[in-house]
Amino acid sequence: MILEMKNIQKSFGGVRVLRDISVCVDQGEVVSIIGPSGSGKSTLLRCATFLETVDSGEIRYEGEPAVTTDEYGNAHYAAPDALRALKRYYGLVFQQFNLFPHYTVLKNVTDAPLTVQKRDKAEVHGTAMELLRKMGLEDKASSYPYQLSGGQQQRVAIARALAMRPEILFFDEPTSALDPELTGEVLKVIKQLAVEKMTMVIVTHEMPFARAVSDRVVFMDGGVIVEQGDPEAVFGAPQQARTKQFLQTYQR
C-alpha cells in the first residue's frame, strides 16, 4: 500500500470540505477522482501532499505515518524532517503547471533532483533528457517555459515531477487549463505512464479518459466519497442517484 488516507476531516472556516474520507492506493494502481466543482477533490490532493493540513485523520506513505490522530480526534503531524523525507514518495502535477519561468525546461526538471536530492549530476542530466524524450520535448530542453504551449508546459511539469522518482503521482485537473486541442497530448503521456504501471491519482473532468485509464474511479460529492469501483461499473451502471445525476451532465 503506497498511500493510505483514513477518516480525513478538513474544514475551512467552519465549512466542512472533507467529511471522513478514506482512500487507499496500491502499487501500480491508477485511481481517478471525479465529482462536481467544490466537492473537495483538490482539497483531498492538497491534504495528501501536505499543502493543506488536515483537522483529523491518518495519512501514511508506504506504511510510514505522516499524520496520526489521538483519541480526542486531533491530528498530529510527523516532525518537519520526517515530513520532508516523505516527500520523496510523491509528486504533484498542478492545473496551472507552476513551472519555474526563470529556468530552462532542462533546469526545471533537474534542479530539484540536484539541489534537494543531491543526486549525481550526470545521472540526473541523463534521466531528465530521457524523460523529456518520453514527453516528446527533447528539442525543447533549452527553451524557457514562456516559449512553450500549455500542453508542452504541462508535459514539462510531468517530467519535472517524474525526475524526483516518486512512488505515486498526483494530478489535479492536468488538462483543465488547456485549450481543447492540447488536452490530447497530455492525456496521451498520462496513458503511457499508466501502461508502465506508474501509480497515479488523477482528479479530472475528462470522463472518457478516466474510464479508459483508471483501475478504479472515485466519485466525490459534498466532501464524501459517494461511490467508487471499477470504471465500467461506475460509468456503466452507477449505483447511487447522485452519481447518475452527475454523469448525466456529461452526456449529451
Partner: protein
C-alpha cells in the same frame, strides 16, 4: 573666477555627491531586504515595530531626518556636535532609503503567484532554498522599474545633504553662485544631475534587458 576654476571646484563636490549616492545604495539595498523580511516576520511585535519605522521614514521629510541624526545626539545626550557630519548623512540616507526599498521588495514578493511556492514545496525545497532559488530571482525582475524610479530620486535627493552644510555639488553651486554673483554654477550642477540620471537610466535599462531572457 573662470569657468574652468568653477568646474574644478565643483568637481570635488560631484565626487562627494557620488560618494553619498553609492554608499547609500550599498547600505540601503541589502538593509531594505532585511527590513522587508522583518516586516513579514511571524512575530507581531517585530512586524509592528518595523511598520512604525517604515511609516516614520516615509512620512517625514528626509531633510528633517538628517537634522535629527546630526543634532539629535547633542539635544538628547549633550554630546558635542561635529565629527559625525558625513556618517550622519550616510546613516540618514541609508535608513530612509532602506524603508522605501523594503516596501518595493515587499510588493514584489507579495505579487509572486502562490503556485511557485507550492511547486517548490512539493519538490522538497526548504524555505530558504525556495526564497533564494525560486522567488528572489523573479522578484528582482518584477521590481526593477520601481527600483529605477527610487534610484533616480536618490540622485536628486543627495542635494539634501546641503542641510548639514556638506559641500556636495549643490551646496557648492549655491556658495559659488552667491560669491561670484553668477548663474553658471547652477547650470553646471543641473547638467551634472541630468547626466548622472541619464547614466542611471542607461545602466538600469541594461540590467532589465539582461533579465529579459524569460517572462
Amino acid at each position: 573666477m573662470t569657468f574652468s576654476t568653477m568646474l574644478s571646484t565643483m568637481a570635488a563636490g560631484m565626487l562627494r555627491t557620488c560618494g553619498i549616492f553609492f554608499l547609500t545604495l550599498l547600505g540601503s539595498l541589502p538593509l531594505g531586504m532585511v527590513v522587508c523580511l522583518l516586516r513579514k516576520s511571524k512575530h507581531a511585535l517585530v512586524r509592528t515595530i518595523v511598520k512604525i519605522y517604515i511609516s516614520i521614514m516615509r512620512g517625514t521629510p528626509l531633510m528633517l531626518q538628517l537634522l535629527v541624526w546630526y543634532f539629535g545626539p547633542y539635544y538628547l545626550f549633550r554630546l558635542p556636535i561635529g565629527g559625525w557630519r558625513f556618517p550622519a548623512i550616510i546613516f540618514g540616507f541609508v535608513v530612509n532609503y532602506a524603508a522605501y526599498f523594503a516596501e518595493i521588495y515587499r510588493s514584489g514578493i507579495d505579487s509572486m503567484p502562490v503556485g511557485q511556492y507550492e511547486a517548490a514545496e512539493v519538490l522538497g525545497y526548504t524555505k530558504g532554498r525556495t526564497f533564494f532559488r525560486i522567488i528572489l530571482p523573479q522578484v528582482v525582475k518584477r521590481i526593477l522599474p520601481a527600483v529605477t524610479n527610487e534610484v533616480i530620486t536618490l540622485v536628486k535627493d543627495t542635494s539634501l545633504a546641503f542641510t548639514l552644510a556638506y559641500s556636495e555639488v549643490f551646496s557648492l553651486a549655491k556658495q559659488i553662485s552667491a560669491s561670484q554673483t553668477s548663474f553658471v554654477p547652477f547650470v553646471i550642477a543641473g547638467v551634472f544631475y541630468y547626466i548622472a540620471n541619464y547614466a542611471v537610466a542607461f545602466a538600469m535599462e541594461r540590467i532589465e534587458k539582461a533579465l529579459n531572457y524569460y517572462r
